[in-house]
Symmetry: C2
Subunit: 303 residues, 2 copies
């Protein structure tokens, strides 16, 4: 089985696992449940849960205790896209070749479905922690640490922070963008959840502090590589391959890495950061074959 | 000291406690931090943390372990108001006599500040749980249970669910509103967080299941009484007293309890549900004087 097939098989498994967490569309509030499920089922690469599970396995983690965290991080990623697509932010009608949530359910329901998805991620963690506590007399420290890593990287010190600066930097254009600020945006908007995924896998597998620190570093590099690759694809890909209009960054005068540093430098930075991620990964011990190939795949992806 | 002064003194203490959790407005993302802090500082009665603390005390709870939960529930309440005020929902420019968050910071920042506030509530809980786990070797079961009560009541099975049905019921008007659906909206949109506050106080004070169940019931009645009182004030109060335009429910053709059942029946229902709440409260044992007076005060309030 090639890496593409292996990734597809894992994504299918993750889809099935997440499906088990989705609410049944019934009762008075079923419109929002339907909008939540639509958003999650609209797909995506399931990259964050996949990274989390692979990190968990790398450090010898076994069993299903990582599942609620995998589901939660994907729901948080999904809510961020739903809100990002809203008219007051990017105002996107399509994502991954499908209508965005608010384009189908209306703006009010897009807003509320995003809120419900974010909150539900934590409901899932809370239930897992209660079950752990009831089974063992108290809730394991690593679960609390994983909860802290997820919530902290998802909030104003992480993903939301990056999103805010990204929004504010639009329209100011490439000229006024400092290297430091661009790096802040990428590390937080895109990097923070990727980093959380890798760290949480290690934490739940009871890896030591040094290993969790390495995952933090790897996540930082990988997030950067992944986002710059995204910028490159916005220039070089097509609507058919990408499932959304290309050239939108330029249209929005967005100060991307490509706009600020040019295409060649962007490609070199993707190489440099992904090589650095692999270099650190190989010092972690254990069988890192899948993660290494996954990193490579993400960097070489065409969509 | 009369009950009004006692409530004001407690609210001031709560303000001070919450202030200690607010992020410092610095760094690239400071606009959203400023919007978060503006939203929280815009005030309000601090009713939910006050109910939580009083319930905690009623069941013999001591010390500061209830503080992170008090802060978290107020942040969740605040985020819900910030999103509720957005143009795609109620489109309100004023609340409590002050400009709403999006009216000051713009719609994109209102959306993101709400997201950041909701997420931050859980960051606060996560940090408290990690600290508890590091101090005691594992995280106490009651903290996990309190986390579950908060998250579950804040989401699609609670506050967001009620909000969704409320939004969908607008424009359909009073005629098409069933008693059951109106009750669903009130119990969830308004009741769910009030209920969570009372339950969490009991849970963290290590009260037994029966006591937590009583708090659940009380919260249900009190939430109903509180929301109907809100509807009554929307008809009978003034802009100056309420800090927001009155008559907005009628203008929006909103199917409130008053619109559906009339003013007299609404007043009777406030009396009935609040008396029921007090009746159950008095079976809980302990000194319930403050909670009883607080219930009364909330029901008799003029704003």
């Amino acid at each position: 089985m090639g890496i593409a097939e292996e990734i597809a098989a894992r994504a299918a498994q993750i889809d099935k696992m997440i499906e088990g967490y989705l609410p049944t569309e019934e009762g008075y509030a079923r419109t929002v449940l339907s909008a939540m499920n639509y958003s999650v089922r609209a797909g995506g690469k399931r990259l964050r849960p996949m990274l989390m599970e692979a990190s968990y396995e790398l450090f010898g983690g076994q069993g299903e205790r990582v599942y609620p965290f995998m589901a939660a991080i994907e729901l948080i990623h999904t809510y961020s896209l739903v809100h990002d697509d809203l008219p007051s932010l990017d105002n996107d009608e399509y994502r991954r070749g499908k209508k965005t949530t608010h384009a189908v359910y209306g703006e009010a329901m897009g807003l509320l479905a995003g809120d419900a998805l974010l909150n539900y991620a934590y409901e899932i963690l809370a239930e897992a922690m209660v079950n752990d506590a009831l089974a063992n007399g108290a809730c394991e420290t690593n679960m609390a640490r994983a909860f802290a890593a997820l919530s902290s990287n998802a909030g104003y010190r992480g993903m939301v922070g990056g999103q805010v600066v990204d929004v504010e930097s639009e329209e100011t254009g490439a000229d006024s963008m400092s290297r430091e600020k661009l790096s802040y945006i990428y590390r937080n908007k895109t990097g923070a959840l990727i980093q959380a995924a890798l760290m949480i896998g290690a934490i739940l597998a009871d890896a030591d502090e040094e290993a969790v620190g390495k995952m933090r570093e790897i996540g930082d590099h990988l997030g950067m590589a992944f986002q710059i690759r995204d910028d490159i694809l916005d220039v070089t890909s097509t609507l058919e391959v990408l499932g959304k209009p290309i050239g939108s960054d330029e249209k929005n005068h967005k100060a991307t890495y490509v706009a600020v540093y040019g295409m060649e430098q962007a490609k070199r930075e993707v190489e440099r950061t992904s090589e650095e991620a692999v270099r650190i990964l190989e010092t972690c011990g254990g069988d890192c074959r899948f993660l290494r190939e996954l990193f490579r795949y993400l960097i070489d992806r065409e969509k």
